[in-house]
Structure formats: C-alpha cells, structure tokens
Amino acid sequence: MSVYQKDRSLIAVIGDEDTVTGLLLAGIGHVDSKQKANFLVVDSKTTLPTIEESFIEFTRRKDIGIILINQHVADDIRSMLDEYHQAFPTVLEIPSKDHPYDPAKDSILKRVQKLFGDDQR
C-alpha cells in the first residue's frame, strides 16, 4: 500500500492548463510508478469521455482526499457530479481564469437547496 493511501492525502485537479499549472507549482502534482497522475489538463481537444473517466478514476483511488475541478469543466459532467455522494474524496468546484464561480451551479449548494426544499414540504 502506498504511503499516501493510508492518509488519503493527495489533492487531485481537473481543470484548464493555467489552473493545473498553478496548482502543480504549489506542489500537489504526483505521478506514481504506474505513470498515473493526479491531475488532468482539460483543453478544447479533451473529449467528454476522457473527463468522465478521469473523474471516475480519481473517485476510486484510495490515496486522493479531495478533487478540485474548474466549474466550467464540472458543467460538462454535471449529471455525474450531482449523483456523486461519496464522503471521500471530496469534490470542490473552483473558478478558472476565464470562468467565474457561480454558486447557483455548485453541486454541493444545489444538494443543500434540495434538502431545504424537501424540509419545507
């Protein structure tokens, strides 16, 4: 077992090149012995199945504690995020350089809103 699996300590990121580059500068980037990275750069050529596969892979890994995803990328896999209910790894939507954060689209806040809606009935 990898030392990171014990603590679920790695930070994964799915985002545009600037977001991933910046976070890699911060030191979160990790490529294991099987050449599996904890990040995915999403650009105009990245297909939807690639993003979905990466997200599923990150959610299944035992060494990742949190997944950071640009909100505009999250919008592409919104249905998948809305159905994601695991406690770990946590998913956090973050803004990108060109796409500001919109609380109305955040899956976590939508879930809370739904709870409030159910309670009011």
């Binding site: 990790h30 490529v31 406690a87 956090l92």
Partner: protein, 178 residues
Amino acid sequence: MLANKLDQVDIYLQQQAELREVLRKGFMHLAEAKYILGPAVISSDSYDRRMQATRFWSDSSSEDQGDDCELEDTNKAKAKQTEAITVSTLRQRKGITQVVQRNGADNDSAKPNEELEVDHSKEKDRKAKERAKRLRDPLYMFTALPPKSLRDAQDCFKRVVSLLENFREPLEQLSKES
C-alpha cells in the same frame, strides 16, 4: 439543524470568495510569467513526468499563511539558513575549544582533524539536502532561473492549497444528507 446548514453555507461561500481572490492574483502572476518566459515554457509540455507531491490535503494548513501572496518563503528560508550557519559555526568553535583544553596525549593531535571533518561532512550533507530540496521544487520544472512573477504565482497557489483546509468542515457538514 437547518440553522447549522445555513451557517455552513455561509462559511462555504465566504471561503469561495477568498479562494477566488487568491486565484485571481495567482492567474495574474502566472500570465505575467508566461509573457516573460513564453507560453511554450509555462505549459503542460514542461511538466515533469516523475513529479512527487510535496503538498497534501491532510497538512495543507502547515505552510505559507502569508497575506497578499508575499514572498515570505524566501525570507524564511534565508532566516533558517543564517541560523543553520550560526549553529554549525558554533559547533566548530566548540570542537576546537574542547581540543585546546585537553592535555598531552599523542592521539589528541589527531582528534581536532577528525572533529572538523565530521562537521564538514555534516555541512556537506545539509547542503546536499538543500540542493535536492531545490531540485524537487516544481518551480524549476519550467526554468532554471524563475522570474519573480513565477515565484509570486507559486506563493499564491500555495496560499490556495492552504485555504483548502478551511473548506474541510463546511464540505463535511454540507455533504451529509440529513
């Protein structure tokens, strides 16, 4: 319970606002670094395919609490270096004074050289560790002489990673179904 949820939503939104601001500065510095070094240098083509993480989710609050993404890292590193040099100098002096106080025996004349050698080897080990640490710094993935803007961008994104710790509790509370 609903009141608790609302409080957590409030905290979550405040943290998002802070994160947004730090990210904005980070992107700005990164854009400046791209302008200086060229977009081909600061790109995914320069990523080191053997990189190892040095910042983690479990201890993301342990470093770099600087406001406004100032270059506190370099100042701290300089202070540590000065302290290390002072300590190693003291050790050397102590070794020499101990030797001076001893009387007579022939084997004592060999001891000063041995102690100085031990101190030198410790100093070398320390320098080798610092060099290895510098090589692991992702800053040097892109260029051997990073400009100030790239260092500022790194500081900002390190601050972003530190801020993630503040999301832990709100995310935990908001993810609960009940």
